[in-house]
Amino acid sequence: MKVIENFLIRVAYAVILLTAVLILNFSMMHLAPGDVADTISQSMGGADKEILDQIRADYGLDRPFLIQLGSYIGNVLTFDLGYSFFYNTPVTELILQRLPATLLLVFTAQVLALIIGVMLGVISARRPNGLTSHFVTLLALFGYSAPVFWTGILLLIGFSLNVHWFPVAGMRDVTISGGFWVHFVDVARHLVLPVITLGSIFLALYSRLCRATMLEVLGSDYIRTAKAKGLHDRDVIYKHALKNSLSPVITLAGLQFSAVISGAVLVEAVFSWPGLGTLAFQSIIARDTPTILGILFFSALVVIVGNLLTDLVLRLIDPRIGTK
């Protein structure tokens, strides 16, 4: 019961947080020089004051700021994020079209980075001076220091342009026809390089942290107790030590969702991945305010949901969280 109550409190906080994000975004847009009417008139090749006023009235831009904010928040509650004049589509629809591609990229990269990162971390902690350990150190330095878009371009040059192992751009090949598995393989092939590019940063982060916490845990009292019980090394490491070093790694992963999305924006740009990042970039250039607001909202939502999931996983692993 206590666990569920605590989790509901977290959800309540998340909703408040999300509302705050909405208010900040909306106010920022409002503060910026120029508004939707200016942008529309520009795209029409200029307009006189009357038409501008007409557009402002149509979009409700002549109302006081707080009223506009209130009606925007009200609309968001009904999942109406406004209308994009640039794409001539409701923003919600626009975003829902693009969201799956981004989620696929972000979650595949996160999950793979986490799993492989933990594996590498454990192996290198078992032999702190071994080959894997040095590899993890190097990988961590590389992953942290290389700009993600540059890594992506290098991979493109290496594996798509020179040896044609993987497609150059996009998420699927429109010329392909066939059943589910044909398309599955097609998407998977497109996904490989973007996921490697995006995952490399986080793989570096997680493997390094996992190595460090494993080393620390392996020196702790309860590991000595486990050894004094005569347990096999295998049990000591994979049961007692690993479970204890997972929490910090998962906590870190939870904090990275915002960074993963940022990375995804760049990776999508490099690989022309049809996700939110590409949409964001285009709408920012076009100053398509409703779409920009919608994307900011959805990415904050993804981060918050990611955090909630992390919180839930941590509670499952560690009985100490949430009980006082």
Binding site: L17, V21, Y144, P147, W150, S258, S262
Partner: protein
């Protein structure tokens, strides 16, 4: 009587501030020392390079896509026939300037927020940590892109947009250090012997909280450089200056014909950030009390 008690005058060298010991530890770390030297060279090049190599990075000086080393251009020319070496030198100025100032800004905000939250606790901490959480949820790069696109792409605005989204990690670290140190007995003793809050925050706790903050600050410089490179790669950059990310972004359509126009500025970013993280690692090892104490 005990072993420790007998360890008195002879085997101890007096008057060594813990930071001096940390520096001696740092000096023994070869990778970090090499990185420090390379960084100094890069900094030196950024400051004095344009004097030694006075080619304008915007000027079309030669035929496009002249490869490195051919026709006297050490690093070749780009798609418009502009000199790449000059772009790298001028780009270094922008990268380092933005890296340092954005990191300074985020460390300043982060330390202030974290220190006040950790020292005063209670509702002050509660409010500040909610705000921190709020900034943590913002999709950093998207948010900066919007700021730069809406409010103009001056260097100042770019720096601001990076600083405002990246201070949360510093705030978290600072807060937890303050929470830990404020409970230590020497802080309690200092308070009992008449120290004011300001003295406790700045003179008693801050010096002891610094090691992890310094390490984080070093890493901040690196990530701010990467952040700026990402923004300028997407074209969100001050049109009046050259930056490394922007060179990559503008040349990326031609990677098949002239891969070097993308590879070389990438290497510049990579080496700079790599050296910064090596120095950060060195600082971490040198300042980590667990490796030193007792």
């Amino acid at each position: 009587m005990s072993d420790m008690e007998q360890r008195t005058t002879q085997d101890i060298i007096a008057e060594r501030h813990p930071f001096i010991e940390a520096w001696q530890m740092f000096r023994r770390n070869h990778a970090a020392m090499v990185a420090l030297v390379v960084l100094s060279l890069i900094g030196f090049g950024a400051i004095f390079g344009p004097l030694v190599y006075p080619i304008d990075p915007f000027e079309m000086v030669w035929t496009p896509f002249s490869p490195p080393g051919v026709d006297g251009f050490i690093l070749g020319t780009d798609y418009l026939g502009r000199d790449l070496l000059s772009a790298i030198i001028h780009g270094a100025r922008v990268s380092i300037l933005i890296g340092l100032s954005a990191a300074f800004m985020s460390v300043f905000i982060g330390v202030s927020v974290g220190a006040i939250a950790g020292f005063y606790r209670g509702w002050v901490e509660e409010v500040l940590m909610r705000i921190t959480e709020f900034f943590q949820v913002l999709p950093t790069l998207l948010f900066s892109m919007v700021i730069v696109a809406l409010f103009g792409s001056s260097l100042m605005m770019i720096t601001f947009s990076i600083g405002i989204v990246s201070w949360t990690a510093v705030a978290r670290i600072t807060r937890s250090e303050y929470l830990r140190i404020r409970e230590l007995e020497y802080v309690m003793a200092s308070r009992a012997s008449g120290s004011t809050d300001a003295k406790l925050i700045f003179k008693v706790i801050l010096p002891n909280a610094l090691p992890p903050i310094i390490v984080q600050a070093a890493l901040m410089v690196g990530s701010a450089i990467l952040f700026e490179a990402g923004l300028s790669f997407l074209g969100l950059t001050d049109p009046n200056v050259v930056s490394w990310g922007q060179v990559i972004g503008s040349n990326r359509q031609y990677i098949l014909d002239a891969g070097y126009t993308v590879t070389i500025p990438g290497i510049a970013i990579f080496i700079t950030v790599l050296c910064i993280s090596l120095v950060g690692d060195g600082l971490n090892d040198a300042l980590n009390p667990r490796l030193r104490q007792r």
